[in-house]
């Protein structure tokens, strides 16, 4: 476990994140241009989706895929309720702010997922290719839960047709599922054609993306209104709780060790792309600096550095894998 944690901490990926964090904290003028950051994220989503699809085309599908998707949707919808209760206990946030934060923790962070797949790959552990579809399935339900938490006391709903469409056809969902489908359809033959692009340089691209994430997280930590100890604690405790729930669910439905880890990571991670945008539309009164700082400045680094090795250790312990 310690070995694993250390190896993870000293990987180029995590160190690149640390470099970005450092640069932001000393207020270096280092920045990744917005267009480049978006291009990196498109690359990562396309690559991870495609590879997942190819892996499904290799191994075929069975009931487990549908079951996993269903589990993902349920986790995404339920985790916000637990998060909401926990925030209310640990901090003095208003219902509105607490619900907004809770929504982030039901949804997922795809780059945390990607980092976890890298760790699995490094450790030579396989996982179900369709987990990337589960990731996509877990993006949105949490948003609905968060809005439900807020609108319980309200007369008028906060959803309209536009928002539904925006949530369901969110760019990262479309790209992830779309490239998953392309990978599935084209299979190994398709992968052969583009693996020099989506497989070989993947880890290196991920480093640059994490450099950027470090820059953003550091900027948030620096300028963000300091979090209370309670909120900070929530940002570390909630992923651990989430991962344990993911562990239970993953074992229950019979995922492999790798699959269990990925479900744990999805449950443990907090969104920083889809959910913040949806919250700005639907809950504009909620304070964005709270959920952004928590998600990107606390939970993401925690998962990236300590969380993933911890979850892997637990997954191996429980599944015996």
């Amino acid at each position: 476990m310690l070995d694993l944690a250390l190896a993870n901490l000293l990987s180029p990926i995590v160190l690149s994140f640390a470099l970005g964090l450092f640069a932001a904290l000393v207020r270096s003028d280092l920045t990744v241009p917005e267009a480049a950051a978006k291009a990196l994220s498109i690359y990562l989503l396309f690559a991870i989706g495609f590879k997942g699809g190819v892996s499904v085309s290799d191994h075929g599908i069975d009931g487990l895929l549908a079951l996993s998707l269903l589990t993902g949707v349920i986790l995404s919808a339920l985790l916000p309720l637990i998060a909401f209760a926990l925030i209310r206990v640990m901090s003095g946030l208003s219902t509105l702010d607490a619900a907004a934060v809770a929504g982030h923790y039901g949804s997922i962070s795809i780059v945390t997922f990607v980092a976890a797949t890298s760790v699995l790959q490094g450790a030579g552990i396989t996982s179900e290719g369709f987990m990337v579809a589960v990731a996509a399935a877990m993006e949105a339900p949490a948003i609905l839960s968060a809005l439900w938490l807020v609108s319980r006391g309200e007369k008028s709903g906060r959803m309209d047709a536009d928002l539904w469409r925006e949530i369901l056809f969110n760019g990262s969902i479309v790209l992830l599922l779309g490239s998953f489908a392309i990978g599935w359809i084209t299979g190994d033959e398709g992968l052969d054609k583009i693996s020099a692009f989506i497989v070989a340089p993947f880890q290196g691209v991920l480093c640059l993306f994490l450099l950027d994430m470090g820059l953003i997280a550091g900027r948030g930590l620096r300028s963000g209104a300091g979090l209370s100890a309670g909120l900070f604690g929530f940002g570390v405790l909630m992923p651990v709780i989430g991962s344990m729930i993911g562990l239970g669910a993953g074992v229950l439905i019979g995922l492999s060790t790798g699959g269990v880890l990925l479900l744990m990571v999805l449950s443990a991670s907090a969104s920083y792309i889809a959910v913040p945008a949806a919250m700005r539309v639907a809950l504009p009164e909620a304070n964005p600096s709270i959920y952004l700082t928590l998600s990107l400045g606390v939970t993401f680094p925690f998962n990236l550095t300590l969380g993933i090795p911890l979850y892997l250790w637990a997954a191996q312990l429980v599944t015996g894998g």
């Binding site: 820059l215 889809a274 959910v275 913040p276 700005r280 600096s289």
Partner: protein, 103 residues
């Protein structure tokens, strides 16, 4: 050169709300507008910058709209209905335009 009185309305609004704003403007009969990028800013809700950002949760754009004075009220009502609950600022300036038939 022949110029004509008009209003220049500049609305800085959250990027996620931009399409809702322009839809509302179009419904209110606004025929033309342009959208400019905003790199960052500071306001009551803190400081933000688009540098390195991937998500759309943070960030604003500036919608610029030249309009005949008599159409201003409709535009402002439409704009206000969208910005009301959201962060952002609206300014209206008197201006002259060329080719008034366009507005």
């Amino acid at each position: 050169m022949d110029t004509h009185k008009a209003k220049r309305v500049e609305i800085i609004i959250e990027a996620v709300m931009a399409s809702r704003l322009t839809n509302a403007l179009e419904k209110a009969g606004v025929r033309g507008y342009s959208m400019l990028p905003v790199l960052g800013g500071t306001g009551r809700s803190g400081t933000w910058s688009r540098a390195g950002q991937v998500g759309r949760g943070e960030g604003m754009v500036q919608v610029v709209c030249l309009i005949r004075p008599e159409r201003l009220d409709g535009l402002l009502d439409a704009a206000f209905s969208v910005v009301e609950k959201h962060i952002g600022v609206v300014s209206i300036t008197d201006c002259e335009v060329l080719r008034a038939e366009r507005f």
